[in-house]
């Protein structure tokens, strides 16, 4: 069995924007995950969704990796941004858009 920590580390480092979530971007299985998907879609940011429901070791592993007890978890350029509440707060304050801009990730919608 591959080491969950290694798989997670690889996802975080090889994708500019990665969302660890319940379900998929097309079909979120939890309201909190769905909210972050909506925000990312609204901003038109390309991202990879990792469905933690597919693999129990990833589901627990991401909590250990981030020292963060809940899912979803958003990573941008290898940096942990936060969960649903923080992502939403940042989006509403325009800080998330700024973060993407600062990291050189194109945002379609200006808010």
């Amino acid at each position: 069995m591959a080491d969950a920590n290694q798989i997670i580390d690889n996802e975080v480092k090889s994708n500019d924007v990665v969302l660890f979530m319940k379900g998929t971007p097309q079909f979120p299985m939890c309201g909190f995950s769905g909210q972050v998907v909506q925000i990312l879609n609204y901003l038109g940011v390309p991202y990879k969704g990792v469905n933690v429901l597919d693999d129990e070791t990833i589901r627990q592993g991401i909590k250990d990796y981030s020292n963060w007890p809940t899912i979803p978890q958003l990573y941008v350029k290898g940096e942990f941004v936060g969960g649903c509440d923080i992502t939403r707060e940042m989006f509403q304050a325009g800080e998330l858009q700024q973060l993407f801009a600062d990291k050189g990730i194109p945002v379609q919608q200006s808010a």
Partner: protein, 78 residues
């Protein structure tokens, strides 16, 4: 067994004594809450760090028995 709002508030206040804690039971089912926590201890901390302080206060219950807590953290002067 879900947690009641009073227990959540008590645990947060035990770790952050000056905290003002406001909890709403979102679904009326004792299982889905929104909490706003105001504390001077959050000063100078990032949002992630502020939330982690509240999660630490909840001693591992967050994500477990407490699976749906929408959290907002505030420093007293903003």
């Amino acid at each position: 067994m879900p947690m009641n709002a009073h227990d959540i508030e008590s645990m947060i206040k035990a770790a952050l004594p000056d905290a003002v804690v406001e909890i709403k039971d979102l679904a009326g089912d004792g299982d889905h809450y929104a909490a706003t926590v105001t504390s001077s201890a959050f000063k100078g901390k990032s949002r992630v760090q502020q939330h982690q302080m509240v999660y630490a206060a909840l001693q591992g219950r967050m994500g477990g028995v407490l699976h749906a807590l929408a959290l907002t953290t505030v420093t007293p002067d903003n």
